[in-house]
């Protein structure tokens, strides 16, 4: 294990990065993502598990759902002779993953926070404390919560709509790129085989 990789790891272990590049794969350390990894509005640090796939693995790896965004992180394999198209695809996928993660972390966090706030206000309006005599948290009825759910949806409709559009666009682009990469790889394999036959 060379010193540079070790230092890279040490650096990464000391600051919480929320996606993880495998130590043993050649990688530009995904510099373009570090800037987005610390959104200031997040009170909690995003957790991504520290995981290294085996060096011999030729596949991407997918992890358990993230605790905040519920999306599964992916560690992308970088092949030996990665074409520009493949690199473009990988970067797009990584960027989309980060963007999604940020949106959903924010969404879930905001939802929880506003829900707690709403419950606190409702209970206070009724003159009740947050916990009952047994120490358990009080719950509101479904009908009372329904008011909050409706309010949350209405408040966020524009944000959701723009997320939708963006997500569909990215999804299509990624799939098209994947198709192009697959075709390119098939072509390379076929032409590679033909060359092998003729020589």
């Amino acid at each position: 294990m060379n010193v540079r990789t070790f230092n890279c790891l040490l650096f990464r272990s000391l600051r919480p990065c929320y996606t993880h590049a495998p130590a043993l794969l050649r990688s530009p350390c995904r510099g373009h993502r570090q800037s987005t990894s610390q959104p200031p509005k997040h009170a909690k640090q995003t957790e991504r598990s520290e995981f290294s796939p085996a060096a011999s693995s030729k596949y991407d790896w997918i992890g358990p759902p993230d605790r905040l965004s519920n999306l599964r992180p992916i560690i992308y394999h970088i092949p030996e002779n990665e074409t520009p198209l493949e690199r473009k695809l990988r970067h797009l996928r990584q960027e989309t993953e980060d963007w999604n993660h940020e949106f959903w972390t924010n969404q879930n966090f905001t939802f929880s926070k506003e829900k707690e706030e709403y419950m606190r206000l409702q209970l206070a309006a009724k003159g009740l404390s947050e916990r009952d005599d047994d120490g358990r948290k009080r719950n509101l009825s479904s009908e009372e919560m329904a008011v909050f759910y409706k309010h949350f949806l209405d408040k966020n409709i524009t944000r959701h709509a723009s997320y939708n559009r963006e997500w569909y666009r990215r999804n299509f682009t990624i799939t098209l790129l994947m198709a192009r990469v697959a075709l390119q790889n098939t072509w390379r394999t076929l032409t590679g085989r033909e060359k092998g036959k003729t020589t």
Partner: protein, 446 residues
């Protein structure tokens, strides 16, 4: 130096309360070096929760890296089979984490987090669910397991829903007043099934991040990464193109057109609309109504009033079914950004469910009018129609979870019963057809 981090890690591990980590589990962990990094990861997640121990987390993280790197063979390897020890440990972590989280920090939706796995619950939980849940916690290679492909495709195409759709199409075919032709019937059924697979696959392809965040849908194949998005789209095309072609060439162009229209409505109208407007429910009801119409047109080749009646049954049935289902999922829908009547217009939701349940009675009465069924059909179907209307009324009045659940479960058996009764009361042209379709029907009381 490299020995100490290991023992330090396991030493820290030993400090966890015994009740949470079984003694056997502990011993196995300590004994098995290749698993200790997993436990370290879980431990790190635990420590991460408590900001005060920030330094300890960093320290552990650093030590863990040193340990993993120094021991040459300690990289993560793919484990194709479930390791119950490590996974049980992860579940124990959940309970530890949850205890730590008792401080009123602002956390993600608890609905997402798995229930704590203590010994009492293990036996109660069905094995398949438990296996899926534990498997979901591992890092896995994103590679297609060819053995799993049939199961993956089944889940991708929502095979049970597809089967229901094919059943309604078959019922539509059987209700048509023409002699029964087995070949056409089979081609129509297979074509409808393939179209349904396509529509469901594309729907899942579009909805990956939303599905990840809802309890009901988080174990879908694309969410879990069992296949890639490109693979899902290819599967959808591989089903859709033969399906629609089969319907167009093997049955008739009208049925093919309806099949293609249904795919379009479901994937390009219903799926995006779910997040934009409550009209998605009406569009979804149309999507559900088209298969029996397709069955009828497959038989007769034309869009008769009888076809529309059958479509009307499905259309009206959708509302008590879906509105009741969505009533108890309001929180998930709200957080996921789905605009459903149950969240944004609860009063309308209940009214519409009641309206359409009562409407089913009226539609049944149209059966003899349109020469689709005999006049016994409205009489025989009255008990079940009245029952579902009664439940819809209770749902309308009280609007609570219990009544919603009752209405939903009633709708699940109501539709097959209704279709079966319609088949038995079909205006008879060829009596062998009825005998073939409904052999065990008792004679109807008059």
């Amino acid at each position: 130096m490299y020995k100490t981090p290991c023992s330090r890690l396991t030493g820290v591990w030993k400090c966890l309360p015994h009740g949470l980590v079984g003694v056997n589990v502990q011993q196995k962990l300590i004994a098995n070096a290749s698993r200790s990094h997993m436990s370290a990861r879980s431990l790190i997640q635990l420590c991460r929760k408590n900001q005060a121990e920030w330094f300890t987390f960093q320290h552990l993280c650093f030590l863990k890296r040193q340990y993993v790197k120094s021991s040459g063979g300690l990289c993560q390897r793919a484990r194709p089979k479930q390791e119950p020890v490590a996974s049980a440990l992860d579940d124990r972590d959940d309970s530890v984490v949850r205890q730590v989280q008792k401080i009123p920090a602002l956390k993600p939706e608890p609905g997402i987090v798995e229930p704590p796995c203590d010994s009492k619950n293990i036996q109660v939980e069905p094995e398949a669910t438990k296996a899926a849940r534990l498997e979901a916690r591992q890092w896995k290679e994103l590679r297609v397991e060819y053995n799993d492909l049939p199961g993956i495709y089944a889940r991708l195409s929502k095979i049970k829903l597809t089967a229901l759709v094919v059943t309604t199409a078959a019922a539509g075919y059987a209700m048509a007043p023409v002699p029964f032709d087995l070949v056409t019937f089979l081609m129509a059924s297979v074509g409808t099934g393939l179209s349904s697979c396509t529509a469901n696959s594309i729907n899942q392809y579009f909805e990956v991040p939303f599905d990840s965040n809802m309890n009901r849908t988080k174990n879908r194949p694309l969410v879990r990464g069992q296949i890639s998005p490109l693979h899902a789209v290819s599967f959808a095309l591989a089903c859709g193109i033969p399906g629609v072609t089969l319907l167009t060439l093997g049955v008739n162009p009208l049925t093919g057109f309806l099949g293609a229209l249904n795919i379009f409505l479901y994937t390009c109208c219903y799926t995006p609309l779910k997040r934009l407007s409550i009209t998605n429910t009406w569009v979804g009801a149309v999507v559900g109504a088209i298969p029996p119409v397709m069955g009828w047109t497959a038989a007769t080749g034309s869009l008769d009033l009888g076809a529309l009646l059958l479509g009307g049954f499905l259309f009206s049935w959708q509302f008590p079914h879906f509105n009741a289902l969505s009533w108890n999922l309001r929180e998930d829908y709200s957080r996921g950004g789905y605009r459903m009547m149950s969240v944004t217009h609860p009063g309308l939701c209940k009214r519409v469910a009641l309206r359409h349940s009562v409407g089913l009675i009226g539609l049944s009465a149209l059966g003899p009018v349109l020469d689709v069924t005999t006049w016994t059909f409205p009489l025989v179907s009255l008990p079940i129609n009245l029952y579902i209307s009664f439940l819809a009324f209770r749902f309308y009045r009280h609007g609570d979870r219990q009544n919603a659940r009752k209405l939903f479960f009633c709708s699940l058996w109501h539709l097959p019963m209704l279709l079966l009764l319609a088949l038995t009361c079909k205006k008879s042209r060829v009596s062998q057809d009825e005998a073939a379709v409904a052999p065990s029907t008792p004679s109807l009381p008059l």
